[in-house]
Every structure is written in C-alpha cells, then in structure tokens.
C-alpha cells in the first residue's frame, strides 16, 4: 500500500512541511518503508529457496509415488501430493527455483539489450530515434503476450526460449523508458559540459547519463520481475512455456485444472506462490520508487477544532462595527505536523484585520508570509489538511469560519468573489470560457442558459474583451493572460459581490497589461461599490490603488495603517526594509523588492519576533517572547525607531 498512501500525501501536504531532525527522519524512513523492507526480505527468501532447493525439498519433485495420489496435507507430504503422487511442497520449492531463474534471466537480458539501445537513440536523437520509435510503435498494436506467442513460434518451445521471448518483449519496453530518460537528461547542463569536454559518446552515456537514470530503471526492472513470473507462468499454463522436465508453478496449475472438480485443493499452493512472488516484487518496486521520489508516509488531518455551524456565528454578528464589511479576528490556521502526536504547524497566527465598505485594502508581504492563505481562509478554502483552528471571520451577520460548506458555497462567488494570479490555470481546460463564466449566474442567480449567455457577453464587453460573442466558445488555452484575467474579473463581478478578493491579479501579466487591469479593477470597484482586498507584493501597486494597507510577515500581521502613513513613515522594520528595497516610487515592480534573506518556513519561525533574524534593528529582548500587536505595529522598538523613508 506504500504507493497508494503516499500519493495522497503528495497531493495534500505540499504546503505543510514539518520539523525534521535527523533522528526522526531515519525513524520515519524505517517506519514508512516497513512494507519495502518486508518485500526485500521476501525476495531474499525466494532467492535462498531457489539456491538451496535440493537441500530444502523433502522429495525429488518428479518422483511419483502412485500410492500417495491426491493425498491431502499430512506429515508425509506437508502440502499434499498431486494427481500422480508427486510431493507438492517439493514441486513448489523447485518451482521457486524456476520462477526466480527465468524471471531474472529474462529481465537481465532485457536490461542489457534494451537500456543501452534506448539511451543511445534518445541521446543521438534524429533519424536513429525516429526509426527506433517507429519500430516500437508497432508494439502499441500487438499486445505483449501475443508478441510472445509469435516469438515462441519462431524460437521454439523450451525454458530458455521462453525466457528469451519474454526478454525481447521487455527489452522493447525498457528501450522506450531508457530513451525517454535519455531525452530528459540530454537537456541538463552536465551533459553539455561532458560534451564540451570532448568525452566520447559511450563515456557520456554510461558514465554520465546511466548513473543518473539508474533509479527509475531499477524500479521498472523490479516490477518487471513480477510481470515476468506472471507471463512465464501464463505461457507455461497455456502449454507454450517450459521443458516438460522443469517443475514450474504454471504447469502445476495446468495439471490442477484437470482435477478441479474432484481435488480443488491442488490449485491452491502454486497460486499462492505466484501471488507471494509477484506481490514482493511489486512492493519492492513501489517502495523503491517512493524512496527515490523522497515521498513520506501519509499524515492525517487534525481534528477540526472549530466546529462548523456553531451557534456563535449568529451572536458574533452584532459586534461588527458599521464601516466594516468583513472583520477577521484572531484567525489561526494550522497544518498537521507530520507523524501522529506531533505539534501542528501554525501557518497563520492571530491574524486580525477588517475590510471597510468601498475601500481597497492592500495585503502586502513576501511569498510565504501568509497573504494568500488569509484570503483563502475568508472563503473557507484553506487547502487540506490545513484547518482554521480558532478565530472569527465576521461577514453579513455570520461567522464564516464556523459556517458549513454548503452555506459557504452560497456566499462564494455571490457575495465574496475571488480572482487569482494565474487566471488561465483558474479555468478548467476542457470547458469553454462561456460555459464557465455562466456558471455563477446559473447557480447563484438561477438564470437559464440563454439568459446567462447573454449576460456573459455583456460582462465580457464591460471588461473589454473584444468579440465577446465569438470568444465565449473559446477554451482557456486560446486566451492570452490579460484577456483571461479580464474574463475572470467579469465572472467575479457577474453576481454583484460586495467583496472582491484579488490574489496578485497582475503579477503574471506584462507591465502594460498590468496597468490596464488595475485601472479596470479600480473603475469597476467604484461602479459596483465593492470592497477589494488586493493581495500583492508590489508596493507600487499599493501606493496607486489602495486606501489602507496591511503588512504580513511569517503568518502574522506586522503593520497596519493608511497607505500614505505606512509608506512614508513605516513603523515596522520589515515594512521599512520592503520600502527601501523599492527603487523608485514611480516605477512599478514586477519582481519582489529584495530584502536580504527570505521568509523562514513555518517550522523555523522564531519564538520571539519572527523578523528578528533579518532585522537591522534587532536587540536581545526581541527574541525573548511573542511580540504583541500594539498601535498598528508588531515591534518592541516601535516607539524609539525613526524609520523615515527618503526617496
């Protein structure tokens, strides 16, 4: 199950790294790969049984004692005897020898032939590659087993012939894999370097490329060993396989088939032997693949501490002050911290801010500061396995942090809409833009298909998408980034939301398009009387478009205030650092202004002031404990520092 479990993690846990100490890492590695260890032990066991078969088997596997025909398990025949009185245990043991030998033989041959050819054609490219690919394309129309039939027709029947036939089938597959790997490696710098250094092709292939591709090839080979056993027993069962004198599981099953009605037990031992062997090779291959990919064992989501639908929602509503549309109070978002019992990771700590009616609030910070997470939590969209574990999000008489999913869905897109940085990636690639834009109208406003379509065309006109009537039948990949962002703005506005969350809406766009989109947003905000939460790392954008600004660092709000104040007289050294890293006010940045260093990951956040390691003004007392948010800033030295920005 190793593979299955870890896939989940890859999808879920990308955002939540955890505290890792070397001891824990080793422990987790061993625990996580217990199945792999067991599988490797199983394989070693099979190899030992194969080698020492003559010592282990109680009887000659071909010695038939007619008197013991069809005997069940007993002290004489531990697994019973077959239809002509041969000892089943001995036959299983010698069958192991055959299975191990034929599968290793065929996979080894396939590796020796397929991998070098694949690496070579992939590395050389051009005609060689095209020719080889044309040939292997043939095998897309001839299934492996049928190809093996044809090969056996040519090679004749027998143990080595069968192994050779299977080897040829696998060589073709390995060749394709090796080729693909070589094509990928060819693009890397080290190959160029080797070429420039004048190394011969064989040296580059076997000394440079092969070591870098050996991992995936070994994984494939491990799984192929299992397939080899499966195919060879299948061929043998069909009567195409091995020499009559060779004892193997496939022919044992073939014989068992004849006694199916009278002695069904006979089919059990060879079947279980095959299952065991194939399972071991598959687990070993999967475990190896996971280990190479650096995957870790699955982790569970924490118990949701803030119960949805709690009664607090309605009560809290009354406290919302008049100018505020949304008020966030003491929001905490946590991710599970690795293995069971570990402390959860706090991604957002005590985040409080409010968005007023008709204003544009800038939410600023470097990547990793928690800006996007704050916006997503407003809509109840914290990615799993993260959870809002405490705090309130007050909106329209409700606490969004406590609402059940169905009620949140009714608010999303209708009362609070959101647009994202990469707008093309925000559309389903296999549905037309028109279908997708119509969806909020159809869900939230109950519009019919034709009505919704007409409205979508109007909206696209409004946001300045030319030829709207034709373009609604286009797919997202046919839109430019700027046009897609306009389309997503049109969709966000379609239901007349009171709040628009804009998560870096212009970051992915060209500078000229950025200005157009920002102007459009400002224009629409006034027209629709919306409140906008503009997430950005660009202080130029904040200066131009926002009324107030909230600065975030490492999951906390570090400063808040009116744009004019914060930008000219910052009170937190982080804001100051961001501002001084911005070269000129009139030039909008398309890159993050650089403050030396970077935001530490959540598991490395300091206990005291989180900015302390990068702060030019830090003192010893800054590291002693959490810094409270007082008077619009989270800095112990706010009273004494004079952080004037000179431009």
């Amino acid at each position: 199950m190793s593979e299955a479990g870890t896939e989940t993690v890859a999808a879920e846990a990308g955002a939540a790294p955890e505290k890792v100490t070397p001891g824990r890492l080793v422990l987790r590695h061993m625990l996580g790969h217990r199945a792999t260890t067991a599988a490797l032990a199983g394989i070693v066991l099979m190899i030992l049984v194969a080698i020492f078969a003559p010592l282990l088997a109680p009887y000659d596997p071909n010695y038939a004692n007619v008197l013991h025909r069809h005997q069940g398990p007993s002290w004489v025949h531990l697994l019973g005897a077959d239809g002509i009185g041969r000892d089943t245990l001995s036959r299983i043991i010698y069958g192991t020898r055959t299975a191990v030998w034929t599968s290793f033989e065929s996979v080894a041959l396939a590796l020796v032939v397929g991998v070098p050819i694949g690496l070579l054609v992939g590395f050389l490219g051009g005609w060689w590659d095209r020719l080889a690919m044309r040939v292997t394309d043939i095998f897309q129309s001839i299934p492996s087993l049928i190809f093996a039939f044809a090969l056996i027709a040519v090679l004749g029947r027998g143990t080595n012939q069968t192994a050779l036939a299977v080897a040829i089938v696998f060589a073709v597959i390995l060749m394709r894999i090796a080729r693909a790997l070589a094509l990928r490696e060819r693009e890397f710098l080290y190959v160029d370097a080797a070429r420039v250094a004048g190394m011969p092709t064989w040296h580059i292939l076997f000394r440079e490329i092969l070591p870098n591709t050996v991992g995936p090839i070994i994984v494939e080979a491990a799984i192929m060993l299992g397939s080899a056993i499966m195919i060879i027993t299948m061929l043998s069962f069909l009567g195409l396989g091995l020499d009559a004198t060779v004892v193997d599981w496939g022919s044992m099953l073939d014989e068992a088939r004849n006694y199916q009605a009278t002695h069904p037990y006979l089919a059990l031992p060879p079947g279980l032997a095959i299952i065991f062997a194939v399972l071991m090779f598959n687990f070993a291959g999967d475990g190896l693949r996971d280990a190479l990919a650096g995957k870790q064992s699955a982790r569970r989501a924490p118990r949701r501490r803030k119960k949805p639908g709690s009664a607090a929602g309605a009560v809290a509503a009354a406290e919302l002050p008049a100018p505020d549309v949304i008020a966030v109070r003491g929001l905490k978002v946590e991710f599970p911290g690795g293995e069971a019992g570990a402390k959860p990771l706090e991604i957002l700590s005590d985040v409080s801010f409010s968005l007023r009616r008709g204003e544009t609030l800038g939410l600023v910070g470097e990547s990793g500061s928690g800006k996007s997470m704050s916006a997503l939590s407003l809509l109840g969209l914290v990615p799993t396995p993260g959870e809002v574990t405490s705090g309130e999000i007050l909106f329209g008489g409700r606490d969004l942090a406590a609402l059940p999913e169905a009620e949140l869905a009714a608010i999303r897109g209708r009362e609070i809409a959101m647009i994202f940085q990469d707008s093309i990636a925000g559309f389903s690639p296999v549905h037309t833009i028109g279908e997708q834009l119509a969806e909020p109208l159809r869900i939230h406003k109950g519009l019919g298909e034709a009505e919704a379509k007409a409205r979508v065309v109007e909206l696209l006109d409004l946001v300045g998408v030319p030829n709207a009537r034709e373009r609604i039948d286009d797919y997202p990949h046919q839109f430019s980034g700027g046009m897609a962002q306009r389309a997503s703005i049109a969709m966000a506005l379609s239901c007349g939301p009171r709040v628009l969350l804009a998560d870096e809406p212009t970051t992915a766009l060209d500078v000229t398009i950025q200005a157009q989109v920002l102007d459009l947003l400002g224009d629409l905000q006034r027209r629709f009387d919306m409140s906008v939460l503009l997430i950005t790392h660009d202080l130029g954008v904040v200066a131009e478009t926002c009324d107030r600004v909230v600065v975030m660092y490492a999951g906390q709000i570090v400063e808040e205030g009116a744009v004019a104040d914060v930008l000219s007289r910052p009170r937190h050294p982080y804001t100051y650092a961001l501002l001084t890293a911005t070269p000129r006010e009139d030039v909008r940045m398309d890159r993050l202004p650089t403050v030396p260093g970077s935001v530490p990951p959540p598991w490395a956040w300091p206990r005291g002031c989180r900015f302390m390691p990068r702060c030019a003004f830090a003192r010893a007392e800054c590291g002693q404990g959490p810094v409270p948010f007082v008077g619009g800033t989270r800095c112990l030295r706010a009273g004494e520092l004079q952080l004037e920005v000179v431009r």
């Binding site: 394309d137 129309s141 001839i142 089919a267 990636a425």
Partner: protein, 314 residues
Amino acid sequence: MRRLILLRLGMSLVSLVLAAAFVFFLIQLSPVDPVVLALGEGAEPQRLDAMRRELGLDQPYVVQFLSWFAGILRGDFGTSFFTHRAVLETLLERLPVTISLLVGGGAIAIVVGLAAGFAAGLRPGGWMDRVVTSAVSLALAVPGFWFALMLGLLFAVELRLLPVAGYVAFEDGPLLWLQSLVLPCVALALHGMAVIGRHTRGVVIDVLGSPFIEAIRARGTPPGRIVRRYVLKNAMVPVLPVIGVQLAIIIATSSVMEKVFVLPGLGTLMVASVISSDFPTLQGAIVVIAAMVILINLLVDLGLGLLDPRVRPQ
C-alpha cells in the same frame, strides 16, 4: 474534429500495415519449413519444390508479404498448412468468442475500475481509499487464470450457479451464452480493473489539487457539481489512454481464460497454431488482433479529441 478523424484514420492504416509486416517477417525467421511440415520429413525434393512454387514460397519475402497483405485486404487470409481450411473461415468462427470476452471483460474493468478509482480518489486516506488501494495491490499480484480457477471452483463446482466450462453461441440461446461468459469476463477484468482503478485514483487526486478546482470552488460551485461537471471530464483525459491499453491486454489475456473455461476463441487458436507451427493461421489471428487493438487506439484518440480541445488540430 473532421481533420482529427481523417488524420488518425490514416495513421491507423499505417499502423496496421506495419504490424502485419512485422508479424510476417518475424515468422519468416522461424527455422521450421512449412512445406516440410506439410509433406513430412521424408518427402522428395521435387515435391517440396513443387509445393513451394504452388504456394508462392519461392518468391522473395517482400513479394510474398505484398501478396499476403493484398489477400488480407480482399478478405483472403490464405490457407492453413495444417487443416487445409481457409484461415478466414476459422478466424470468423473464433472471433465472436474473443469479441464477447473483450466487450464483457472490458465493460466490467472500465465500470468497476472507474467507480473504485473515483471513490478512492475523491476521499484520499478515507476507508474507501484504503479498501480500494489494498484490493488493487492484491489484484495485481493474483494471476488471472488462477483467479479464474477459483471463481470456477466457487460458482460452478460448489454453488453450481454457472457452467464450469464451455461456450454456447448467442444464436443457440442468449441466456446460456451469457452464463457461459460471466466467469471468464469477471476473471478477465481483474487486472484491467485494478490498473484502471489505481490510475483513476491518482488522476482524481491530481485534478482535485489543480488550481482550477480551487478557483471553481471560489465561484461557489457546489461540491457535487464540481465532481460531476469538472473532475469527471478532466480526469477522463489521462484515464482514457490507460483504458485503451488495458483493453488491448484483455484481448491478449483472453487466451488464458479460453483455456480455463474451454472457450473456442482466437487465443486458443493462436496457442494451437504456435504448437503446430501453423503459420498462416497464426499470422492471420495476430493481424486480426492487431486490427482490433488499432481500432481501440483510434477510438481512444477520437475520444480524447472530443474531451480535450487542446489535442484537436487547429
């Protein structure tokens, strides 16, 4: 879409010619001389030569291939050295069994595989996911023919619900025909089901993690609608080619089920032809199977064209 159909149709024909040529020339490598086989070891050289001339075996291989392939296009697959029957006649006799197995086994593998994959992938880590992933690992290690024996033991020998073996043609009784196919189809579907299920699960998890799902949730689309409308269609794009490959494997492994359940299909015909070195029959059967696989690949490509606008030629 019309351009895509024409393009893929052309490519399919090329694939068929290449596959036929490959099989033909591969079989020519055999050390077995069919004429000696037909006339016996001790036949006089003149008789051997006469038969070679008669069958066109004295011609260069390329000429032989062209006349053989041209014959196939006309519906003439040649004559068996062994039974002296027209190969086409034998193939047509056997084809209904193979097609029944493909359709039955394929349908079970697709339906159960997709359902299990979605059930597991929509709630990764849940109990359903654990059941499905365990079942998949086990199913991939169980040899299909052993599973078939066990099914036969349980449902035919013990419970006597279904026939142990044998095939009844559809014309001779639709119900009996269906009964004779249930166990083979279930056994045949086992691996395909597991592979489709595992792949679907992974794809569903990937799709759920993609940015557009977050954006669609932010629009207020209800979860059920997201799955039905967006996850389903987006997930089918990478799953469809896997289904195609599994159907091809089902055609191949039906030979094993034919042996277990004594069904007269193309698989046992091929096995018998390999054993008796009946090359015209073997070649013919492989070409028919290649044609079926190519047709499946064509349908998969067209299905992808319908699902995904990005693969349609502009």
